[in-house]
């Protein structure tokens, strides 16, 4: 009895310390994002005085209005939305299709195909050779440079593969007896039952497409074709606030500074992902489970 009681007291102390520690970690995680938010929603000129830590001092939506009025920012936003939507659908469908073919035991040459895929994992395309290839293919300054080179990934194929193996054979066989071809089976049977893994890969690839600034930086010279992340990279890393100012449409509110415009653009750029991921969380956590639990 005594020992039991003592352990409970120790436990309670541990729990308390642990909970506080977790709270501190969460605070450190959230505060920098909160700081950007409150400064973006503050009047730009007023924010230059500094000292805005917890709440906007002079609430203003002018920076956001300017973002939505700037044709440069909106064009880049449009490119990002388009590349994310088209790129994610293309990546998921194409990789899943190849994975479906690779998952079928009757596939002749399956071992050789898997071997070829494994080699691509060990020797990924290096930067310079890939650049020369893309140039040779004439993809420079074309929208497809965002889509086709990112359409397939053998890593993602393996995740699909381990999921497809769990689909009961009966499901596929029944469809085949009904006269469905392989492609119909893939579209009508396999895709609908694989939604958790599709959501996982779609989230990952969507995040990649949304956040990728590098492709736009090296393969795109036309500023009307650059995504918002490349646009922001040029503003942030090259510290060219001139570009930010030139993005302002004429007759802009005088209380918008290049800094407040930058923060507002960052908020607008990040908001869609931050809003979406908690809803997909159960899927991607399960995606990790597919692999590690059965080990």
């Amino acid at each position: 009895m005594f020992s039991l009681k003592r352990r409970t007291a120790g436990d309670a102390a541990f729990d308390w310390v642990n909970n506080v520690l977790m709270l501190v970690i969460c605070f450190i995680t959230l505060y920098p994002i909160w700081y950007v938010l409150v400064n973006a929603f503050n009047d730009g000129t007023d924010a230059m005085r500094g000292g805005i830590y917890w709440w906007p001092r002079a609430f203003s939506l002018d920076s956001f209005k300017t973002v939505f009025q700037s044709s440069g920012i909106m064009t880049a936003m449009g490119i990002t939305v388009a590349k994310t939507a088209v790129g994610t659908v293309a990546h998921v469908l194409f990789t899943a299709m190849v994975a479906f073919a690779f998952s079928r035991r009757e596939l002749i040459g399956r071992k050789i195909y898997m071997f070829i895929g494994t080699i691509t994992m060990i020797f990924p395309g290096a930067l310079i050779p890939t650049y020369l290839l893309i140039r040779d293919l004439g993809m420079i300054d074309h929208f497809i440079v965002y889509i086709i080179p990112a359409m397939f990934s053998f890593f993602d194929l393996i995740i699909f593969l381990s999921f497809f193996r769990e689909i009961p054979d009966g499901l596929v066989e029944a469809a085949e007896i009904d006269g469905a071809g392989d492609f119909t089976v893939f579209l009508r049977i396999v895709i609908p039952v694989s939604m958790p893994v599709i959501a996982t890969i779609a989230l990952f690839h969507g995040v990649y497409q949304w956040n990728d600034y590098f492709t736009g930086m090296i393969y795109i010279n036309d500023t009307n074709m650059q995504p918002i992340q490349t646009y922001l990279y040029r503003v942030v890393a090259q510290a060219s606030s001139n570009q930010m100012i030139s993005a302002m449409p004429s007759g802009v509110a005088s209380n918008v500074t290049s800094q407040s415009l930058k923060l507002a653009t960052m908020v607008v750029t990040t908001a869609p992902i931050v809003v979406v991921y908690p809803f997909l969380q159960k899927y991607f956590v399960k995606g990790f489970m597919i692999g590690s639990i059965k080990g």
């Binding site: 909970n19 520690l21 977790m22 970690i25 969460c26 450190i28 995680t29 920098p32 994002i33 700081y35 400064n39 830590y53 194409f94 190849v98 479906f100 073919a101 690779f102 035991r105 009757e106 596939l107 002749i108 895929g117 060990i122 020797f123 990924p124 395309g125 290096a126 930067l127 310079i128 050779p129 890939t130 020369l132 290839l133 993602d156 194929l157 393996i158 593969l161 381990s162 990952f204 949304w210 956040n211 990728d212 600034y213 090296i218 992340q229 990279y233 942030v236 890393a237 930058k262 923060l263 750029t269 992902i273 991921y277 969380q281 995606g287 692999g291 590690s292 639990i293 059965k294 080990g295």
Partner: protein, 351 residues
């Protein structure tokens, strides 16, 4: 590299996959028996086998098309670039075709190995990777262990959701945040001056000596929660019976963590360690490119950035391809070496 983590599970399951294959043996046999049954008049066994093979191929032509589309993509976007590495041994000029480029043997490799930048480029790459390995590798494990001890399920879920958030921010956004925080008039300077640690503001991103710390800290901030997912998944797979047995034996919380949880996820840790070591030469390109500037160059130029600058920016394609190729070869060696060592120590390996 982060994507590799995701594949771990399936790779790690090699055993499971093999079992699957062993069971599958029966199926093709059934099919071939079925196929030959209506065709007993075949002249020779070889002919029949070939015919049934062709028949099988015809029946699965849709599947073959799907598979070969994937193979075609890999040939174009993986194997052709591998072939393009030959420019490392030639003097390639971007305005001329490859065939016009004269062979120069190992000249580009020699040039890099005797170049002044070799020393600091390698030092920066290894220093940042090692710091990330020493600090950034164990902390997610500790975080996962402690998070697992949180009693309230709802609080635990909430912490998880919050801790994944920074992973979804792009490095460009994080670069913007850091530039704001670390500026002369930024919050870090205000805080340190307010507390009396420094007398005048420091431009952290303009001073080379702070660069490595900024890289390691920002990487940790961004990926701590995300890197812990795989460990949490592994921990949730530990059998509850082990904990019950340990409780009966009188083990406390820490003892259970140390003697039950940790040994049970040893395999996962080992595999992630192999991957981390084999990635020592890979820097986080996205991260460094955003935070690097002309003032901190001496501490921020890593191999990948060097390849990018000499190649794409300066147009010295052959030279930068040679540097990249050298890096790939050493990285492959590191992967095999780390795999070998872990196998010896731990009976766990990637291959």
């Amino acid at each position: 590299m982060r994507r590799l983590l995701f594949v771990l599970g399936p790779l790690y399951n090699e055993g499971h996959v093999k079992v699957c294959n062993a069971n599958d043996e029966e199926v093709p046999q059934k099919v071939s028996v079925h196929a030959e049954a209506p065709n007993p008049t075949a002249a020779s066994i070889g002919g029949a086998a070939r015919r049934s093979w062709l028949k099988k191929l015809m029946r699965q032509r849709a599947l073959q098309v799907m598979a070969l589309l994937g193979i075609a993509w890999m040939i174009v976007f993986n194997f052709i670039p591998i072939y393009w590495n030959v420019i490392a041994f030639r003097e390639f000029d971007i305005i001329q075709p490859l065939s016009a480029a004269p062979w120069v043997g190992l000249d580009h490799f020699k040039e890099f190995l005797t170049d002044d930048s070799l020393g600091y480029v390698i030092r920066n790459t290894l220093a940042m990777s090692l710091l990330k390995l020493i600090i950034g590798f164990p902390l997610p494990i500790a975080f996962a262990l402690l998070l697992n001890e949180v009693r309230s399920i709802r609080y635990k879920k909430w912490i998880q959701t919050v801790s994944y958030l920074p992973h979804f921010l792009s490095w460009v956004i994080l670069g913007g945040i850091l530039a704001t925080w670390l500026a002369d008039v930024g919050i870090i300077n205000k805080l340190l001056m307010g507390l009396g640690f420094i007398d005048e503001p420091i431009s952290y991103l303009a001073e080379p000596k702070y660069f490595w710390s900024i890289i390691v800290a920002s990487d940790l901030w961004k990926e701590l929660g995300w890197s812990a997912i795989i460990y949490l998944a592994a921990i949730s797979g530990v059998s509850p019976e082990l904990y019950e047995a340990a409780t009966i034996d009188g083990a406390g919380r820490f003892q259970k963590m140390w003697k039950v949880t940790l040994p049970c996820i040893r395999g996962t840790i080992a595999i992630l360690f192999i991957l981390a070591v084999s990635a020592l030469l890979n820097s986080n390109f996205d991260q460094i490119l955003v935070l690097k500037n002309s003032l901190n160059e001496s501490k921020s130029t890593v191999i990948d950035v060097y390849v990018y600058q000499t190649g794409i920016s300066d147009g010295r394609f052959s030279y930068s391809a040679a540097v990249g190729l050298l890096k790939s070869v050493i990285a492959l060696g590191l992967l095999l070496g780390a795999n070998y060592v872990t196998k010896k120590l731990n009976d766990t390996s990637l291959f």
